[in-house]
């Protein structure tokens, strides 16, 4: 990748945490969007490809706020969490 890299801090919760671990820092190209980060992660291996596969069952938060726009460009140091639909209450 020619573009300068940023670091994204990944967090996984619930079934995604069980499949992929708690997360951690990963490098990504400058200008990466939330949707593109998902694709990059899915390309890593079969476990990531599977855990992040289902649109209907994948939710996301950026810097601890629910992500509603997957075209949002991530800044250096952003905290990005992936998790299944919530079931509290």
């Amino acid at each position: 990748m020619m573009a300068a890299a940023i670091t994204v801090h990944l967090r996984y919760f619930a079934s995604l945490r069980e499949a992929l671990g708690p997360g951690g820092p990963v490098p990504a190209p400058q200008g990466t969007t939330v949707a593109q980060l998902r694709r990059l992660l899915q390309a890593q291996d079969e476990a990531h490809a599977r855990a992040l596969a289902d649109d209907r069952l994948l939710r996301c938060a950026v810097d601890q706020g629910l992500c509603v726009d997957v075209h949002q460009v991530l800044g250096d140091g952003a905290e990005v969490a992936f998790f299944p639909p919530v079931t509290g209450g």
Partner: protein, 176 residues
């Protein structure tokens, strides 16, 4: 809203809570309170009497985001409804059948606003706050509880960024 309590209005905790003590604390010293509505959610077994299916459950959350997002929603409730004080407690970690999971308590001058604000906050906790339940069955198996995806307000339109034809199906607006 004038906070009348020395305790934080939003608490995420592993230990149980005392409904009576929380309600007393919520309305202490405020003679303008004419109504308190408190909702308590508890761990429910899916089985029938005599043949339980669950042995308990476990609640996971997203530390930091949980508190921040509920605080923001309490601010929203205070802006929308004529209420005087709010208390939200959500437990995390291992829970047994019949344990209390969540408390939302609201005080107001009149009952209508307290009922509305309490339901507003519970709807938010069920559909958007980052908590996940894992059920433990009596046979030793365990599974994450499926969300009712159709009324999930946090639905992400991943499909917009994907190739045509991979968009999620339209979501029905009605609750089951």
């Amino acid at each position: 809203m004038a906070s009348l309590s020395h305790l934080p209005r939003v608490r995420i905790q592993a230990h149980d809570f005392d409904l009576g003590a929380e309600v007393r604390d919520l309305r202490a010293g405020d003679a303008g309170v004419g109504a308190v509505v408190a909702f308590v959610g508890t761990v429910r077994d899916r089985g029938s009497a005599g043949s339980p299916q669950l042995s308990g459950m476990e609640l996971e959350h997203y530390p930091g985001m949980t508190e921040k997002s509920i605080e923001a929603m309490v601010d929203e409730a205070v802006a929308r409804f004529q209420i005087r004080a709010v208390r939200v407690i959500h437990r995390v970690g291992p829970l047994a059948l019949q344990d209390q999971i969540v408390l939302v308590a609201v005080s107001s001058a009149h009952r209508a606003e307290a009922f509305q604000a309490c339901e507003f906050l519970m709807d938010y906790l069920k559909t958007q706050a980052p908590f996940w339940k894992k059920e433990h069955a009596v046979d030793g198996s365990s599974r994450w509880v499926d969300a009712r995806v159709a009324d999930d307000a946090a639905l992400v339109r991943w499909g917009l960024d994907d190739v045509a034809g991979n968009a999620p199906p339209p979501q029905p607006a009605e609750r089951p």
